[in-house]
Amino acid sequence: MNLVLTEEQRELRDTVRSFLVAASPLPDVRRAAESESGYDPAVYRRLNGELGLAGLIVPQEYGGAGAGYAELAIVLEETGAALLPGPFLATALATILLTELGDKELLPDIAAGTTVATVALDGDRALNGAEADVVLMVDGARVRAVRGGGRTPLTTLDPTRRQARVESVAGEAVASSEAGMERVRDLFAVAVAAEQLGVLRASLDAIVAYSRIRVAFGRLIGSYQGVKHKLADMHCKLEQAESIVRNAAWAADEAPGELPLAAALAQAYVGRACFEVARDSLLLHGGIGFTWEHDAHLYYKRAKSDEVLLGPPRIHRARLADLLEL
């Protein structure tokens, strides 16, 4: 089991982090989220061009970098922490699905960044469903790629990520594999947990930083145990969440037998921890955290949206119970 980043992985993390800090700071995120497409295509082009992230886990033979899920988790943690708007997670999920099922048709264009793909998660609801070129629709073990059809944008709690209801029209059959789809669902859980880890970390970082500069009653608020002890508990959640995500990503790469349990644990623990930390971060900011102009609510809304993205949270606990044979 490998829970500590290698030097190459730390470099990947630092590269993505620096890129996002420069190319997609939060004021830009807000502007992009309110634009017509909901994201900044130029940032996406650079993300895929300079950094090659669209093809990160795509096998080299299809034009990708052939990296592992540990690397994908690192990138998703950073895009989560930056609240990068647009279809990065959507395309990552689609890529996971296609890579695992061995598709050869769509992967090259996705890896090249020329096709935006997404997955209809519970029947017909898809992240960035209105913006995507291709929607992968799952029907039991069968997957088909839908290019046209009606797309009905939904109103979302999270202003930085759109969703749409996708009309279930005919499409090319991609593949069909029951075992494959089981694994794909676990990998979705890992991917979302990685993003949640990033949201959790950024929420905690924000309130830690604020606690070092905000004064109330003549003292920095971080010096009050009422704040300090809460932050300490939030830090404990971060430490555990990170350990769980690393373990799940390692299992995805190296220990397929351990993946189901590791993935269910990741959703069950990290989803809740992320929301709790984002909520407490917002509350500890005081009144300013309740304003639209402050970023706390963006993390809070992303955290709540991510917590339920793969279904009501109890399904992950039920899955854990099944896997543990309780």
Partner: protein, 393 residues
Amino acid sequence: MDLEEYRRRARSWLEANARRSRDEDDPGADGVAAAKAFMADLYDAGYSGISWPAEWGGQGLSQAEERAFAEEAKDFTLPTYVFSIGLGMCGPTLVDLGTPGQKARHLRPLLRGEEIWCQLFSEPGAGSDVAALQTRATETEDGWVVSGQKVWTSVAQHADWGLLLTRTDVDVPKHKGLSMFVVDMHAPGVTVRPLRDMTGRAHFNEIFFDDVHIPAENLVGRVNDGWNCAVTTLLHERLSISSGVGMGGQKDNPVAFEALRHTVDTGDHLVRDQLVELYIRSRALALFNQRLAQETKAGMFPGARGSAAKLLLAELSMFQADLATSLAGPEAVAYEDDGRLAGSISLAPALSLGGGTNEIMRNIIGDRVLNLPPEPRVDKTVPFKDLKTGTRQ
């Protein structure tokens, strides 16, 4: 007239005159006009300022009648939102501390709904720590000139008058250099800007004062005694919140137990148990509130114990919105309908922040209910000009 008779008459007036529909946070110009008309009727019927002194336009009756009317009114929805700050906080402060001239000028129009009031205490750098405020009032020949910024001001966009807390001396510790004024919200230099909150709507305003002139007779209480005046206002605020004025009940709340039980799948034992948890918490708080009300009726003033009810309500509000969205799953956060669940989770933090954060409530309970030793304070002795406040270093 005995109390039961009073109560019966109040009820029949309400049945004839009040709506049962939902009050609106921001009624718009038409809504304000309608609200003012209703308020005039309410006043003329003798149900505005029931326990206020008759001398200044009240009815001069006791708390018993005031409470009886409030209890009857709970079944109706009165369009009194825009008047709630004036009736609950500004007016009572003037009754306690205003000059005869201020009372004569302001109280009757306030009770009759002719003039709307707002309260101007909080600032960006002075939230929990209101006494750290920076808005300056400088004395002139014929009054004062005020500059600064206020925030979290409800109904300011409709307000004719404001109750304003300012700093008048920076060379003394922060609590000792404040003064309170009545300020004309239509005076030159007053700018009201809606403040968009995390729900995406503007429930509050920011107010900018730019060399605003205030006549000398508008001072409330004594110069540099503003902190004590503000404590009076905040006491009225707390009473007003705990008596339910200006706060929506749980009836229309889509994430309250009664609503949720009809929308979730209680066939799932885990869901069922989570609803049980919600019932337990809701009922525990409801019974506590009822006990406080019964104590008050029996003449036992709950005092700081009300802060426990406020804290618990804030936590319940967060808990139930969180629970409802978790139970509903993806549909709660991406929807084609009116988004009631998403709205509730966006609004849920409000009660934990407004009227004192949860941390402040815990301090109050610890200090004033449990009589625990106070936190050592550095800000009670340092001259204000040397004190760190907000994020100013």
